[in-house]
């Protein structure tokens, strides 16, 4: 092997680690070039959503299930943190962890009956879950503040320093998002990840190979709910105000759109899809007004051309081209 080959091989072997490192570097220096709090606020929002969509992609993209109710778990995280910190004076980080564990438990209880369903039935059941949570947030106004929302949530703090502006929040949210991204990348490359991909494509075969299908589905559902809850808690502390409308079924649809457009079964696709959906209204003014129509349109177009989503579709296409070229070269 020549020196060039060695370097290329090293890059190929460590492609995931290097990409994560590069992303970390770019985001680490981003505030030096962009100190406008408005733009930092947008990238922070991408980071928050990313934590949610990474989990949702494990459930939808890898395990091949569907959830139209994940905004419900985000809501539980956000309101859980709000209540524990603002009303009961807990430390925000402790609250974030405890709430995430409780939401995980709630997801376990919701998941055991609902994950026996699949396809449309699962979609309806999760949608129903979201509607129940939303209704509770609106109706139980003594605790949640009702339709007008919950204000006065304290910001996060790190070593006594309050994380109360966009710049500081940037350096909290992105390291967390990158850690979750890395853990998700590890998970999908492990035997557990292979098992999820297998059960998504053929449950009978997966089961015959020793994968306990029902348990694996519940595990990944709980994991995605925990990540959604963490995203929700961070959302609450970032804006110090939450309101039920942020967690309606339309938010769930938006989350699914992020996952699907970016790419089913691609952790990087989640980053792309999330960034795209968060950024679009910022750059296209009419987008805000016709948001739902445009979401639907994008979804239809992307899924017609790339049923696996944009990043996954392009990745699979490139991979096949390379393999075919290699095959021709050999014969």
């Amino acid at each position: 092997m020549s020196a060039k080959d060695k370097i290329l091989y090293f890059i190929w072997l460590h492609r995931t680690g290097l990409t994560v490192g590069a992303l970390g570097l770019v985001l680490g220096f981003y505030p030096l070039f962009q100190d406008n709090p408005y733009f930092l606020g947008i990238s922070n929002l991408i980071g928050i959503y990313l934590i949610v969509t990474i989990g949702l992609n494990l459930f939808i993209g890898y395990a091949g299930q569907i959830s139209l109710g994940h905004a419900g778990f985000v809501a539980l995280g956000a309101y859980g943190s709000a209540i524990l910190t603002a009303d009961l004076g807990w430390n925000p980080w402790l609250a974030l962890i405890i709430v995430a564990l409780l939401v995980g438990l709630a997801a376990l209880l919701v998941g055991i009956p609902t994950l026996r369903l699949s396809g449309h039935y699962l979609a309806m059941a999760t949608l129903g879950f979201n509607i129940v949570i939303y209704t509770i947030l609106i109706q139980w106004d003594k605790i949640t503040g009702g339709p007008s929302g919950f204000a006065g949530i304290p910001p996060l703090s790190v070593f006594g320093m309050p994380i109360d502006d966009e710049l500081r929040f940037h350096y909290v949210i992105w390291p967390l998002a990158i850690i979750f991204l890395t853990l998700a990348l590890n998970l999908v490359r492990s035997g557990l990840g292979l098992g999820l991909a297998a059960l998504a494509q053929n449950e009978t075969a997966a089961s015959a190979l020793g994968i306990k299908v029902s348990r694996a589905k519940i595990q990944v559902f709980v994991l995605s709910a925990v990540l959604a809850s963490v995203g929700g808690s961070l959302f609450a502390h970032c804006f110090t105000f939450v309101n039920p409308h942020s967690f309606s079924i339309f938010t769930s649809l938006e989350l699914v759109t992020m996952v699907v457009i970016g790419g089913l079964g691609s952790v990087w696709g989640s980053l792309f899809g999330t960034a795209l959906i968060v950024l679009m209204p910022e750059y296209l003014e009419f987008f805000e007004t016709y948001k739902d129509i445009i979401h639907g349109l994008i979804l239809v177009v992307v899924l017609t051309v790339f049923p696996q989503g944009l990043i996954s579709g392009l990745r699979d296409m490139a991979r096949l081209k390379i393999l075919q070229r290699r095959d021709i070269a050999q014969h």
Binding site: G191, A208, Q330
Partner: protein, 254 residues
């Protein structure tokens, strides 16, 4: 090795299997034949935990496995292939074969998300094992191909490789040569005999009589859920009941 005793399974009153008993002796190829609807698939499904038998038992060296769920079966050293290929089309050939090593894979959650060096090394060993199996089935050049892009013959071989990679003691082959040409069938036939010579116990379900007569040590014949005959290929070939079940029916439909 594997004994099936008084196995019975009804579907809404219709008997799919009625009091079927036979043994699969260790290191032998036992072949299950019978016309369509005879109950062959039901039997395989009862033995592999896909269906729960109504009555009777399936014992592996004395241990009852007939009521174990499907995902427990591979832990007893039993592997299977499916009648109409059950591969994971979007996964690569290597990943499909790796999935056959699920029983050995690291599935702990924390180890999966942190991937400590020990876990990575373990995964590397499993990958090497899968690559060896690909070599044996002349699939190594296709390791990175998505299975969905392969020819039917290649897919059949991927499924065999996936079933064998874990080094099972017992192998169930559900119509392994269906849809293959004569040359490919002969190659699979040779592979099946080779596996038997390596000591595997094989339960084969097959319609291709050339293959059945060539490889079987013992044949079990089912018809409408009943066991109507069992014996050596020579005995079965001349058994009047079998001739009636097969030829009698064939002459009516022909």
């Amino acid at each position: 090795m594997l004994s099936i005793d008084h196995l019975t399974k009804h579907f809404g009153g219709l008997p799919a299997l009625n009091d079927v008993s036979f043994d699969c002796p260790a290191g032998r190829i036992t072949t299950l034949i019978g016309p369509n609807g005879a109950g062959k698939s039901t039997l395989i499904n009862c033995v592999t935990g896909v269906l729960v038998p109504d009555k009777g038992s399936v014992r592996l060296e004395g241990t009852e496995i007939g009521r174990e769920p499907s995902y427990r079966i591979p832990y007893h050293g039993i592997a299977r292939t499916f009648q109409n290929l059950a591969l994971f089309p979007r996964l690569s050939v290597l990943e499909n074969v790796l999935s056959g090593l699920t029983v050995e894979a690291e599935t702990g959650f924390l180890k999966s998300i942190f991937r400590p060096p020990a876990t990575r090394n373990h995964e590397r060993r499993l990958r090497l094992k899968a690559m060896e199996m690909l070599d044996r089935f002349v699939l190594a050049g296709k390791a990175d191909w998505p299975v969905g892009e392969l020819s039917y013959g290649d897919r059949k071989r991927v499924e065999m490789a996936r079933a064998l990679v874990s080094g099972p003691r017992i192998l169930f082959l559900d119509e392994p040569v269906a849809g293959l040409n004569a040359e490919e069938s002969a190659a699979i036939g040779e592979e099946i005999c080779r596996l038997r010579n390596l000591g595997l116990t094989i339960l084969l379900v097959e319609h291709d009589m050339d293959l059945v007569m060539a490889v079987s040590d013992g044949i079990v014949v089912l018809d409408s859920g009943e066991l109507i005959a069992q014996g050596s290929p020579e005995e079965i070939r001349h058994n009047p009941k079998v001739i009636e079940a097969y030829l009698g029916r064939m002459s009516v439909t022909a």
